[in-house]
């Protein structure tokens, strides 16, 4: 029981980098970036192949991060310079990355069991949680800081009002490129760490990542809100951990009769509900308000005319 809880928290923290990456594209740039499914594996693959060739795990992790950034830059180029629709650029890059990842890894699965990784010295799960929590929090704070710099403000404005920030002199093609690269770098970092934690990199490990990332961001926002950047990035991290905890418990609850393969459906449902509920609620509220105001207005009109009628 406790094992599965600590295990879930550790996974949540490792996947938090991915959630932060998805937050950047989905929320800040308003660009649903499907590259994620490929770049997650890119990070894992680069790290795994480097570690198994004897390179230092730290270097291998950094290389994974940079590989993700390069993948993101390609998506950014397709979208900004190639003028390809955002979703399609992501899909194209995701497909292309499948082949590229295969070339990087050389085979569909690389085992890292028994080799030194950046996490292999952390055998105690609580120590692992403590260290990862600190690392995640530092990265989160660095991101927060970045989003308050002149460049960071321009990047945020690119998603909020691109026309305005262009008229103020920012090159929105560049800010998009920076945002998408950074996002995919974080996603790849997450993939790299997951590979090291679970002991293998697999060609299909990135499938569905984008939806898990979206679910994390949305769950976190539902609980913490996103009033400021500080809370929004915190929400992505917390959402990622909660998602893993919910998954762990759902899989343990035998009466639910869930298979691991059902997870993607459940995750998709979470995202669908989270996207549909707010819009329907808003529409519903508006309709009710309109109804109420209409009856109020007709009542006051009727009142006025009956009064006039009475005085005659």
């Amino acid at each position: 029981m406790l094992d599965s809880l600590t295990g879930a928290i550790i996974l949540g923290l490792l996947y938090a980098f991915m959630a932060l990456g998805v937050y950047i594209t989905f929320r800040i740039l308003d660009f649903p970036d499907l590259t994620v499914d490929g770049s997650f594996t890119t990070g894992a693959g680069i790290t795994a192949i480097l570690i198994s060739h004897g390179y230092s795990p730290l270097l291998a992790t950094l290389a994974g991060f940079l590989g993700g950034m390069a993948a993101g830059a390609c998506t950014g180029l397709l979208h900004t310079k190639g003028k390809i629709n955002g979703l399609l650029s992501g899909i194209l890059m995701m497909i292309a990355l499948y082949s590229i990842n295969m070339r990087i890894m050389g085979k569909p699965n690389i085992s890292l069991l028994g080799v030194d990784t950046v996490v292999s010295s952390l055998t105690n799960p609580w120590a692992m949680i403590a260290v990862m929590a600190v690392v995640v929090f530092i990265i989160k704070l660095l991101l927060d800081g970045f989003f308050h710099t002149d460049l960071g403000l321009a990047l945020r404005a690119t998603g909020d009002n691109a026309r305005m920030i262009r008229s103020l002199g920012a090159n929105t093609d560049s800010t998009k490129m920076i945002g998408i690269s950074l996002s995919n770098g974080l996603v790849a970092l997450s993939g790299s760490l997951i590979a090291q934690q679970t002991g293998f990199a697999d060609i299909s490990m990135g499938i569905g990542m984008i939806v898990i990332g979206l679910a994390s961001v949305i769950i976190g926002e539902a609980i913490l809100g996103a009033r400021t950047i500080f809370f929004a990035t915190l929400a992505a991290v917390v959402g990622s951990i909660l998602y893993r905890i919910v998954v762990a418990f759902a899989l343990r609850a035998e009466w639910l009769k869930l298979e691991t393969s059902d997870l993607k459906l459940i995750t998709a449902l979470i995202v669908i509900i989270a996207l549909v509920v707010p819009t329907t609620r808003r529409a519903w509220k508006q309709r009710n308000m309109a109804k109420r105001r209409t009856s109020e207005l007709t009542a006051s009109l009727a009142g006025a005319s009956s009064k006039r009628g009475g005085s005659l």
């Binding site: 710099t149 909020d160 009002n161 305005m164 002199g169």
Partner: protein, 264 residues
């Protein structure tokens, strides 16, 4: 200062939908000129603004600032010289960012944007001081999201953002048209004060004839992609709305048709 020479722009060229938005426009603004622009719907006023600011490229002709040809520069590279306020109050500000963050982005106009803090103590006090000049209490709401402001407040903020770095050229495209009369009057007054105080070279499109006469030192009239009349300071003094409309009809051969026109 600003010079357009023989600038033309077509939309949908070679199709049945072909529209001549600008035809051979030649215009020269002197430093400190405050030019009001009127014309019918579709006369090409907004296209003119878009070509000056680089949102669109001309099909022919040159745009020059201080004698330098800039028609090849993209919008974001021209913005160091050009401040803009749009008609739509939503267009000039980022709604999910705070007032001070919006100002910080305007403050960075023409500078390279790096990893320096966007809003720091020094900038914040500058912003507060500038906002106070607007006289609508925004200086006490530096950390409010801009999306919470009314259209008039947003437009006042946009105006400040467009001007407080003292651009060489200020472009205003019907920036009061979406506001109610009281707010429009406030923004007009702020515009006049700011332009005067900073001596900004300004091109202002308006649908308000009375305003077009009252403001600025020069008035140009556009129709079907051409400048059909250019009225200098001396003649602007004793101009009336009727005379202006009469003159328009006489030259263009039809009535001034503008769905937003306000006579006075």
């Amino acid at each position: 200062m600003l010079e357009l020479s023989r600038v033309s722009r077509l939309f949908n060229p070679g199709t049945p939908d072909e529209k001549v938005a600008l035809m051979n426009i030649t215009l020269r603004l002197n430093p400190g000129d405050f030019v009001t622009v009127i014309g019918s719907n579709g006369a090409g006023k907004s296209t003119l603004m878009n070509i000056i600011s680089g949102v669109m490229k001309p099909d022919a002709g040159d745009v020059l600032i201080d004698g330098k040809a800039i028609h090849h520069l993209p919008e974001h590279k021209r913005s160091r010289w050009i401040g803009r306020v749009f008609q739509d109050p939503m267009a000039g500000t980022a709604p999910h960012m705070t007032i001070e963050e919006n100002l910080a982005m305007a403050y960075a106009r023409g500078k390279s944007r790096g990893l320096g803090l966007g809003v720091n103590g020094a900038k914040r006090s500058l912003f507060r001081e500038q906002l106070a000049k607007l006289g609508i209490g925004l200086e006490n709401r530096l950390r409010a999201k801009v999306g919470l402001l009314s259209g008039g407040e947003r437009q006042a903020l946009s105006l400040l953002m467009a001007t407080f770095t003292k651009p060489q050229i200020l472009l205003l495209d019907e920036h009061t048209a979406a506001l109610d009369p009281a707010r429009a009057e406030l923004i007009t007054k702020l515009t006049r004060d700011i332009v005067q105080e900073m001596n900004l070279t300004t091109l202002m499109v308006t649908h308000n004839m009375e305003q077009a006469i009252r403001l600025g030192n020069r008035l140009i009239m556009m129709d079907k992609g051409r400048i059909i009349l250019d009225i200098p300071q001396e003649r602007k003094h004793d101009l009336t709305v009727e005379r202006l409309l009469g003159e328009f009809e006489q030259i263009s051969g039809h009535k001034l048709a503008d769905d937003r026109v306000v006579l006075g």
